[in-house]
């Protein structure tokens, strides 16, 4: 008994791989024959303290539409995917639509191809109304990330294929034929599984340590200066959030400053009396959660040895106004010292640096600037940024619009000079003298090609913290780069605080199928049926009736007389004999379905 039960259990699993292979094969073949397959990027899906935001679905399988008004009569769009190019988007309309929580099958937003992160080479044409488009996108991004949208929302870039599809869909809509299952049209399919919560999202802080020159004995007492920048981003489409200015520019500046000081510190003669601590922190968009965890991990002595910290945030956009944001009152001596150092150098560079003071409210969980995390631990710190006011939570986080085109290398170079020069003067106690340590033609000049290559890399790498794995190439690259410039590098892996929950499936493939309607298939079936019936009748009449006619007519009639008497009577009633033969043929046609074989007819 036991054996007989066990046998099928042993045999069955052998077939599973074969079955799985077959299914996979069929699935592959079925998916690969679409007209167009487009890369699409899903709107972020996240919760803040359990409150849902963003697009709550990933699977898309509906017909395409092109406007909110559908086509005349039917205003029900719950089974329609709207394709909306951002260029022509009516913001008030979509705001209204989302705020009133009207149902849609899905939303596909087409971004101009120039906003593609990979597109670093070409520049925007001067004629284009790029600023208004950018503002529109910023507004749209804010709207989408701060609403709970119960249908899938995807972003894609305009290309010829999708434009052709859109034109066709628009034509259909205009002609008053709604694209539903009965009239054909285009079907948009994104095969995605249900988005899953990312369990314990990882944030990695990378820290580099450049020790100062120890004078015999009292090595522990060397003061430390920290330079910090957060490298992660956030945006409507996590797979497209490769923030170039925020905060790619800060990361690039930090790396270049590390490179410059490593050159200085490699020579004992120019090695300063300050330790330098470089920190690339993650979780910057979520109240600088990474920075907080990083600081907490410091031991007491290190934390107390920090003289001050400079945080770099958005230092790469055009314009020559920078702000030094602080939390301590501006009258504070340390703050004054830092600000003096910066403004002196800024004057030489033709920059304007303003001091902005914003008090910390300990009871408010919002941390608007990175330096506030330092200040909360009573470490003097300031943030250098081109933003004049503190951003809201999830504002200016390096999303869709934060493009390489809007970030200027020259501005970054200026900011680097500003920070490096003022730091160097502080470290070497040259505050009062107007010397230039990092002069343009010296061996310590800022390297523009280094900046460009790093800025290009960061501007093409999406880096929303929860979607970066522990061993993400970007984290490895940053770690390696810091290791090249500093004596000691540590990567600290932490888990993002539980207030934020993220869901996966950030990108996918959209397949656009041209589908036939059910009515078409019904019609086709009708046509085919009548074709086959005609063919049958034609073949039947040409082959069998001819045979019957060619035989002796009397014998045929006799045969029929004997077999089908009542029908024969009817036939007799008809006056014309030839008509009778046609009748016979029809009878034969009918009888074919009744009789098993009519060979007897022939045999007689």
């Amino acid at each position: 008994m036991a054996n007989s039960f066990r046998k099928p259990a042993i045999l069955d699993p052998m077939y599973y791989p074969i079955i799985a292979l077959l299914i996979a094969l069929i699935a592959c073949v079925e998916l690969s024959d679409a007209v167009t397959a487009v890369d699409v990027y899903r709107l972020v899906q996240y919760d803040i303290s359990g409150v849902p935001f963003g697009s709550r679905l990933a699977t898309l399988n509906h017909h395409a539409g092109s406007s909110f008004f559908g086509s005349g009569s039917s205003s029900d769009l719950s089974r329609t995917v709207l394709i909306l190019p951002v260029r022509e988007l009516n913001l008030t309309l979509i705001t209204e639509y989302i705020e009133q929580k009207k149902l849609l099958g899905g939303l596909l937003l087409l971004l101009p191809p120039k906003f593609r992160p990979e597109n670093t080479g070409s520049t925007f044409g001067a004629d284009e109304d790029i600023d208004s488009l950018r503002n529109k996108l910023v507004e749209l991004e804010w709207l989408l990330t701060h609403s709970n949208i119960p249908y899938p929302v995807y972003f894609a870039f305009e290309d010829d294929n999708i434009k052709a599809v859109l034109a066709e869909v628009k034509r259909n809509d205009a002609s008053g034929q709604p694209a539903t299952a009965t009239t054909g049209g285009y079907k948009l399919v994104v095969a995605a599984s249900d988005p899953k919560r990312i369990v314990s999202p990882n944030i990695a802080n990378i820290q580099g340590w450049l020790p100062g020159l120890k004078v015999d004995g009292d090595s522990n007492q060397l003061p430390t200066i920290a330079i910090v920048a957060s490298y992660d981003t956030f945006g409507a489409a996590p797979a497209l959030s490769a923030g170039s200015d925020s905060n790619g520019s800060g990361v690039v500046a930090l790396l270049e400053i590390a490179r410059l000081f490593s050159a200085l510190y490699s020579n004992p003669k120019t090695r300063g009396r300050y330790n330098l601590l470089f920190g690339l922190t993650s979780g910057g968009q979520y109240n600088y959660n990474g920075t907080q965890k990083w600081l907490r991990s410091f031991d007491q002595r290190l934390r107390e040895s920090i003289d001050y910290a400079i945080c770099l945030n958005n230092v790469g956009s055009l314009g020559n106004q920078l702000h030094l944001h602080v939390s301590k009152p501006p009258e504070n001596a340390y703050i004054q010292q830092i600000f003096q150092g910066f403004s002196t150098v800024a004057e030489e560079l033709g920059l304007q640096v303003g001091l902005k003071h914003k008090k910390i409210n300990i009871s408010n969980p919002r941390v608007a600037w990175e330096h506030e995390q330092f200040s909360r631990l009573r470490v003097t710190a300031a943030t250098l940024s081109e933003l004049s006011t503190a951003p809201e939570l999830l504002e200016s986080t390096g999303g869709l619009t934060d493009n390489r085109h809007f970030t200027s290398e020259a501005s970054i170079i200026r900011s680097i000079k500003l920070v490096a020069e003022s730091l160097a003067r502080h470290i070497y106690s040259q505050e009062k003298k107007s010397i230039s340590i990092f002069a343009d033609d010296s061996s310590l000049a800022v390297n523009p090609s280094y900046i460009r290559s790093w800025l290009d890399l960061l501007s093409t790498t999406p880096r929303v913290a929860p979607f970066l794995s522990k061993n993400d190439p970007l984290i490895k690259a940053l770690e390696k780069e810091l290791a090249d410039h500093t004596a000691e590098v540590n990567v600290q892996h932490e888990t993002l605080d539980g207030t934020f929950t993220f869901y996966d499936s950030t990108s996918g493939k959209l397949h656009i199928y041209q589908v036939a309607s059910v009515t078409f298939d019904l019609l086709l079936l009708l046509v085919l049926g009548s074709y086959l019936i005609t063919l049958f009748s034609f073949l039947f009449i040409t082959t069998r009736v001819r045979i019957l006619v060619s035989l002796n007519l009397d014998s045929v009639i006799l045969v029929y007389q004997s077999k089908y008497k009542d029908e024969e009577k009817k036939m007799r009633n008809s006056s014309n004999q030839s008509a009778g033969i046609v009748q016979q043929g029809l009878d034969d046609l009918i009888s074919l379905f009744r009789r098993p074989s009519s060979r007897k007819v022939k045999s007689t």
């Binding site: 079925e30 041209q514 079936l525 085919l528 086959l532 063919l535 073949l539 039947f540 082959t543």
Partner: protein, 230 residues
């Protein structure tokens, strides 16, 4: 919905074969076995042809759209392997005692059906069930219809060539010419498609038209050959 479409295409592709069998006296004479035999012969012929093609034809990596006369000539030559197979099916197989009239029809039918199953069923299964709608599978079904007519015509001509002894001498060259044309039909369509760049609907239309023409001619030839014996 898509299964529905597959069903439609399958009806178009394989329906005529069934209709032909049931509507004509073939079903009365129980010639199914003959058709099956012919289908088996077709399978072997197709195998031999494939092996020959694979051995002697150099396959270009990309599905090239240009028409290579030398390669096509070779292909046409291998096309005659099919004729040889048909010869075998018509003359060498022992058939039940059925008239020549029905024999060639049964062989042609089996031949065409095997061809349809071999060449059209798998693409149909994978293609027509997909969401994407194309006319291709409907056109392919029409092509299968044309192919059925061609196969039966070729079988008719073959039976005239090989089985009928007392045929009018004047008709013999015409019979051979027609058979030659039918045997090289794949090459002709390939030339139309690649050499002249015709689109599929046009090619299928041509095939349908020419199949009807060939069928008419071979019918006339058949009738003409039958006359002296009567």
């Amino acid at each position: 919905m898509t299964v529905f479409h597959f069903f439609n295409c399958a009806i178009l592709t394989f329906g005529p074969h069934a209709v032909y069998y049931s509507a004509t006296p073939l079903s009365e004479y129980d010639t199914l076995w003959t058709s099956i035999k012919a289908a088996v012969v077709y399978l072997f012929t197709a195998l031999v042809k494939l092996v020959c093609l694979a051995t002697f034809l150099n396959v270009s990596e990309s599905e090239s759209d240009n028409f290579d006369p030398y390669q096509e000539l070779l292909k046409a030559l291998f096309g005659f392997i099919e004729v040889a197979g048909l010869y075998f099916a018509l003359t060498q197989l022992t058939h039940r005692n059925i008239s020549q009239n029905h024999k060639f029809q049964a062989v042609g039918l089996g031949w065409a059906f095997a061809d349809s199953v071999l060449h059209r069923l798998v693409p149909l299964w994978f293609g027509a069930r997909g969401l994407e709608f194309t006319w291709d599978y409907i056109l392919q079904g029409l092509e299968a219809n044309a192919n059925l007519v061609f196969s039966i015509s070729l079988a008719a001509l073959g039976s005239l060539m090989w089985l009928r002894k007392n045929k009018p001498k004047t008709l013999i060259p015409i019979i051979y010419a027609c058979a030659g044309i039918v045997a090289t039909m794949p090459t002709i369509t390939s030339y139309l498609r690649r050499g002249l760049g015709w689109h599929l609907p046009k090619v299928v239309g041509f095939e349908l038209f020419s199949s009807l023409l060939i069928a008419f001619i071979s019918w006339q030839l058949f009738v003409a050959c039958q006359r002296p014996s009567n």
